[in-house]
Symmetry: C2
Subunit: 192 residues, 2 copies
């Protein structure tokens, strides 16, 4: 159950077996079905999720009904409605499983307490936050300026796995463009 989490943690920091046991005792497994939305906008986020199997996404729905995906978390990655998790304000994001998935969830209070008990875990959380910042900065820049083709090319370079595993419609929602525009961008790039 905890092999992948162990691998993830031990690739980044040293942990004793006792520390690992403590960490595992605080993570509960949860199965989620394909397309299941297991965290809703308006809720206050109390969990951090480690994707043990499958893939989840964090996304917004605009007032006009279009979706905007902030982040895809594949196996061996953490993900949550991070802004609400941090601020304890109602979430603007939803969390959905893209595939049938297994997540290991830890309660927010337990998570922050773990950071106190095992300070080296701060480094892991630091990397998660730094990564989230990098992604969000790219999203802001993308929303502000880049055209569809450039957004497609950036993503292709940064995270090609997304194109292999995620349906076109959701990739478009990640790029903030329509599926038709994404198809045109792809075609345009192939011509070059």
């Amino acid at each position: 159950m905890y092999q992948l989490l162990t691998k993830y943690l031990r690739e980044k920091i040293s942990l004793t077996n006792a520390q690992c046991e403590l960490i595992f005792s605080l993570f509960q497994p949860r199965m989620v079905n394909r397309n299941e939305i297991f965290f809703n906008k308006g809720m206050i986020c109390q969990h951090f999720y480690f994707v043990n199997k499958g893939c989840i996404r964090m996304f917004y729905i605009h007032s006009d009904g279009t979706e905007f995906t902030r982040y895809f978390a594949f196996e061996k990655n953490f993900g949550t409605a991070l802004a609400s998790f941090i601020t304890q304000k109602p979430s603007l994001e939803y969390i959905q499983a893209i595939e049938k998935s297994e997540v290991l969830s830890i309660l927010r209070n337990d998570f922050y307490q773990l950071l106190e008990i095992i300070p080296s875990l701060e480094k892991i959380y630091r990397h998660i936050l730094e990564n989230a910042h990098d992604i969000n900065s790219q999203r802001i820049e993308s929303l502000l300026g880049k055209n569809a083709k450039d957004r497609y090319l950036s993503l292709l370079q940064q995270n090609p796995e997304i194109f292999q595993r995620i349906p076109n419609k959701l990739v478009a929602s990640y790029l903030g463009i329509s599926p038709e525009t994404l198809s045109r961008a792809k075609a345009q790039v192939q011509i070059y």
Copy 2:
């Protein structure tokens, strides 16, 4: 010189005098003039700045010439071109002093080494990153959906100091709207 930094740090974590001395030895003061852009787009960010006096802002310039401010850092706050600082990729942001300012700057390598030597500093950096994430999430949500009046009201609630200290034109660049639209939003709100 280091009173404000000491206050900032000691409000958040416990530090011995020896630890404080080590920290101070790595921060260099730098004076910047009003409106001076002291870090440019395209550069790779090697410093973290603590605002000792004045105010700095991190901002983008779009291809059409309009500006977009990501963050204002007033006295007793840290700020930098965070995405480039983290990833060591060329920055999309500029850093400018809004007022005549004094910043204390620390080299990126020294900063990360300090985190290794004084692990409790991780908590400070965690708060900086969590705050940056919160701000960026609000910016994304704002860019995606909110109208000018709602953006204005959100900011008024979250950070009224901005309206007291920052010129209207720059506040508008922070909200991603034109100065004229900001004036209309303000007028609209006063009517209610």
